[in-house]
Each structure stands twice: as C-alpha cells, then as structure tokens.
Symmetry: C2
Subunit: 128 residues, 2 copies
C-alpha cells in the first residue's frame, strides 16, 4: 500500500493525494511543463458538472501575488500527467504556446471560445 | 449566449462557472441532496490525475468552522447533477447513507477503501 500514502490537509482530512487521485482543492500549483521545460502551474481545473470530466486545466504564470498573472486554459486532451515530473506536460511549439488564447477580463467561456482553444492546440473539441 | 454567462473570481479570471463547466476552486459548498433533502455540501472532488475524471465528490456536513465536520466520499457514478436544484443528487435509503463509510484521520485511500465505498453505494468500482 506504499503507493497510496496520503497527505493530511489543514482540516485533517486525509487523501488529498494518492498515487492516482488528487483533491481538487490542492491541484493549484501543480507544475506544467512544455516538453521538459517548466512553463507555469495549474490555477484550477474546469470540470464538466454533469460528466465529472476535467475539460481544461487553467495554467497561470508570471505576475506577483496574483497581480499581472496570465491565465491559459489548456485542453485536457492536450495534457499528459508525467509521474516522474509530478506534473502535467504539453507538447507544443514554443511560438504556438506564446500565441495561445489567454483569459481576459470579460471573456465569456462559451462554445465558440472553447472551440477556439481546442483548435489552437489541435485537439478535438468535445463540447464545453 | 445567455446560457454561458460567467462569474468573476477574486483574481478577475472569468469562467469560474459556465452552464456546463465549474472551476475546481469553487466546487466547495455545492449542495448535495438525497432525493430532495439537502444533506450536505461538496468539500472537494477527488480527480484521477491521468484521466481527469472525477472519481469521488467528498461531502461534508455538520460541525462548525470546520471543527467536528464529517466527510463522506460519494462515488461520482452515484451522483447526478440536478440543474434545477443547482447541486448533486444521490438516491439512497437514509439508513444506508447513515452507515456510509466516512473519512477518519489516518485512513488510507487505497483500492480496498475505494472498493468499499463503491460497494456501499452499489456502483461498480472503476479502479481508484
């Protein structure tokens, strides 16, 4: 059972993280890599309320204390969990990444926006 | 696009919630109902790191300011999102619910524990 040791959260509830599961309240900060370069960290997951499938990992990077940070929704289908790195990996040309759609204030995360993101990363759009 | 209006989080990042997606950092507090009775709220989601599938919604109830609260992992397969209630619904005999496995300090969320939970709710165990 050594694979399933758990950490303890502030509230004393165990199982924040097992080898296969991660608690949604501690995903923030999980590292994101492009190939082997650390490019940012998970800000949150966008979860389909009905199916329970994570559709996007929103990556944040830059800024200081949350000011000036940029946010990039990465389609789940474009990510791989790398157990050795302990984080998510995307495999994309650096320029393509720099041109990726980022959140802006007032942005509406509708189907058009979702499709635009998935198209950018070249993965099928599953319907947000 | 009225179906996809969004809320704004403290950081100014939009899309905390659309009609189909919910941000992992705001799932806490989503109401849980047994049939039509409000029985608790979501504490967190336990997400499969590789597949991105939510496997359990951990429900909390009782206590005060986090002290004395009880935590119950509910298999995703046993839950339905009810748009009219704006929360998750389980359909289970009240006595069965009272006898449900709850987290205890020192609990290890291994396969044995996962299987025990799913068995209790009568849903197939997909492998934690």
């Amino acid at each position: 059972m050594t694979d399933y040791t758990t950490s303890t959260s502030r509230s004393g509830v165990e199982t924040d993280e097992t080898s296969e599961l991660i608690a949604s309240n501690i995903v923030e900060g999980t590292k994101v890599y492009n190939r082997n370069e650390h490019i940012g960290q998970v800000y949150n997951f966008m979860v389909n309320k009905r199916t329970g499938q994570v559709e996007y990992a929103v990556m944040s990077f830059g800024g200081f204390l949350g000011i000036g940070e940029s946010y990039y929704p990465l389609p789940w289908k474009a990510l791989t969990y790398d157990t050795s790195l302990g984080g998510y990996m995307i495999d994309i040309d650096k320029r393509k990444l720099e041109e990726a759609p980022s959140y802006r204030e007032g942005e509406t995360f509708d189907r058009v926006y979702g499709k635009r993101i998935n198209d950018h990363y070249g993965v099928p759009y599953g319907g947000v």
